[in-house]
């Protein structure tokens, strides 16, 4: 390669910066970006305006007078039914659901993936196939039997029940993720550990777990956004006192009684979207990797 480079100029002819194609290209991209950015912008702008200003002006205008009151109100005063302690309740409910669900689902799925790639037993592939196919079954067909099962074990309406549900429905995609990762680990490593007398759990904790840290991060990102954004399971398997944030947000915004306070609604919406957005902007490429891993094979 180096000696060819010496013989003369190579590579494409340097392009003009403002060629017609470039203007078209960037123009289109910027136009489309506007469509994607518009809702976020409108939400932020609206949440910083007072109600009188919203009634007068247009949604796209920047706030003339910035007020943080809607945010405070959304967090601690907004009403759902008779409760008027704002979204904070939903936020803490969501946190209480999120942490055990993420830990439990990833713990189960990583062990599954490990067993499926290194400790195949008769029928393991069958169960795995059923698990993956199960990811395509509409949730609606399984919702009611799960209600019955949760009632039987006394967890219906409880946060624990919702944690179980999240672990169950997170299992297909996470198991796939971990199985694919552990399959790519050289088998010699596993065999060497076997020869040295390490058992199932020891190999898992001392060899596989430390190696799989990046994939654990991907799984955490996948689960945190997925569980935080869940609405369906939250609305069915919890009761009003334990509603997660998304359900409470919907109840605040779409309640029929009272005057609509659009600025408070938008502040509440942004608050709910904040957790996944922060994760998205912090994790960058890992987020993409997570959804790609989930998507390409799922």
């Amino acid at each position: 390669m180096a000696d060819i480079a010496m013989t003369g100029p190579r590579g494409p002819k340097p392009k003009k910066r403002f060629s017609r194609t470039n203007i078209f290209l960037y123009g289109t991209l910027i136009m489309i970006s506007m469509y994607y950015l518009l809702p976020l912008y409108v939400m932020i702008v609206t949440s910083l305006k007072g109600m009188p200003e919203i009634r007068l002006g247009n949604v796209f205008g920047p706030p003339l007078e910035i007020t943080y009151e809607p945010w405070v109100k959304a967090w601690s005063e907004a009403c759902t039914g008779v409760n008027c302690d704002g979204l904070s309740r939903g936020f803490w409910n969501s946190v209480n659901i999120l942490i055990p669900s993420v830990v439990l689902s990833i713990a189960i799925a990583s062990v599954n993936g490990y067993a499926l790639s290194n400790w195949k037993f008769k029928g393991s592939e069958v169960f795995f196939t059923i698990l993956i196919l199960g990811a395509f079954i509409p949730y609606q067909t399984m919702i009611y039997p799960i209600v019955i099962m949760l009632r039987e074990i006394g967890l219906m309406g409880d946060l624990g029940g919702l944690v179980l549900v999240h672990s169950v429905f997170g299992m297909p995609i996470l198991t796939l993720l971990f199985r694919n990762y552990f399959t790519s680990v050289p088998e010699e490593l596993f065999k060497a550990a076997r020869v040295d007398g390490a058992g199932f759990w020891r190999i898992y904790f001392q060899i596989m777990l430390p190696m799989a840290l990046p994939i654990f991060v991907v799984a955490v990102i996948l689960q945190v956004t997925g569980i935080w954004n869940d609405f369906l399971f939250g609305v069915i398997y919890t009761k009003p006192a334990t509603y997660p944030m998304t359900v409470q947000l919907n109840n605040i915004v779409n309640s029929v009684q009272g005057v609509k306070e659009y600025n408070v609604n938008m502040a509440a919406t942004l608050l709910t979207g904040l957790v996944p957005l922060v994760i998205y902007f912090l994790s960058g490429k890992l987020f993409v990797r997570g959804i790609a891993a989930g998507a390409v094979k799922g």
Binding site: Y35, F121, E125, F128, G134, S167, F231, L232
Partner: protein, 366 residues
């Protein structure tokens, strides 16, 4: 396969052959949650629902057989028919638009531009947000008194009307704008990964042959990206059938029942109308539609050369076409807007023909 595996392990463990079931007991114990999930929740739960859809359950599930009564009633309920035609309209539009937008965005980003990361971040961030947040944000932007419509009117176009969320005929398009906003970034990402996987030499060869960029995309790149397109298709399709939160947050099925969808119908009948049997029948219909869509895909992905899959795939296609016909007739008889399902059906039929030809080519090649 497992036999070979076991033998190699056994060689290390010792000569005595233990009972098969108790070999590697830890692996099996650790897999219990997975086995329970797969067999009890997924298989058991689904079968339970299907079985109970033939019962007259009302408030509580009971097994008093009523045959196909629930299904007959289901297909006579206008609300269900509206749900189905809404989902068909939303599904077809969403499929076409998401694939197109996703591919175009990916192709634009693949033109070696500056700031690719910035653009990609912008296109993908809505995917991190929940459907509830998406629905509420767009509900606000599409608000007739304060949102887009008001803005254009303030600019001086007094008679401008853009109020999809309060118009029964166009409400699904209001949902569509939000749905595409949320989901197209994901497809763009997948498409971009697919484009990056295409050999640079292909582009060089095309340039040498004097083929234009657009033509290269259409004639060479897209056919090469067939697996990526199929993956995207399955992904979008399985997302469409789950459409629920967005509707609840953005329109709550309104105005009236004009933006109802099947998933919402199921939940309403199970948990509000206390008519479990209807809910079970409706969810079974959802399951059937998923199976019909999945079989051809499963055939292409896993069942190459399997006669039975080919057979099932063909049956599924015939059923799908029939379902399209039924949808048109139903829409006709309920005098819902006739044009939309008809256009939808034509697109559907076109897609089917193409798909059929493709499957046929697939069989001849492999």
């Amino acid at each position: 396969m497992s036999v070979v595996e076991d033998r190699s392990l056994q060689g290390a463990a010792g000569a005595k052959r233990p009972i098969r079931l108790f070999r590697n007991p830890m692996a099996k114990i650790a897999s219990i949650p997975m086995i329970l999930t797969a067999m009890v929740v997924f298989v058991g739960g689904t079968l339970w629902t299907v079985v109970h859809s033939f019962s007259g359950s009302k408030l509580l599930p009971r097994l008093n057989w009523v045959g196909f009564d629930q299904y007959e009633r289901l297909w006579e309920t206008p609300r269900w028919l509206i749900s189905i035609s809404n989902l068909a309209l939303y599904g077809i539009c969403s499929l076409i638009l998401t694939l197109t937008i996703g591919f175009v965005l990916a192709a634009l980003l693949d033109r070696k531009i500056r700031g690719e990361g910035v653009f990609r971040t912008i296109f993908l961030y809505p995917f991190a947000l929940s459907f509830v947040v998406t629905g509420i944000a767009w509900q606000w932007i599409l608000n007739p008194d304060f949102g887009l419509q008001n803005l254009v009117r303030e600019w001086g176009w007094e008679s401008f009307v853009f109020n999809p969320l309060n118009d029964p005929d166009t409400v699904m398009f209001g949902l569509l704008i939000a749905g595409i906003w949320q989901g197209s970034g994901l497809i763009m990402c997948i498409m971009l990964a697919g484009l990056r996987g295409i050999d640079e030499d292909i582009w060089k060869a095309a340039r040498v042959d004097g083929i234009g960029t657009v033509k290269t995309y259409i004639r060479i790149v897209i056919p090469m990206m067939r697996p990526v397109f199929i993956t995207s298709l399955v992904l979008i399709a399985s997302g469409i059938i789950k459409l629920y939160d967005l509707v609840v947050a953005q329109t709550n099925g309104g105005p009236g029942i004009s933006s109802e969808v099947p998933a919402k119908y199921v939940i309403e009948y199970m948990f509000r109308a206390q008519n479990l049997g209807q809910g079970f029948a409706a969810s079974t219909m959802m399951l059937v539609s998923v199976v019909i869509i999945l079989i051809p895909w499963a055939y292409l992905e896993f069942g190459k050369g399997m006669r039975i899959m080919h057979f099932l795939g063909m049956i599924a296609l015939v059923l799908l076409t029939l379902a399209g016909f039924v949808a048109v007739v139903v829409a006709w008889s309920f005098s819902l807007s006739l044009l939309l399902p008809l256009v939808g059906f034509l697109i559907c039929a076109g897609a089917l023909t193409a798909y059929l030809r493709f499957v046929k080519g697939h069989i001849q090649h492999g």
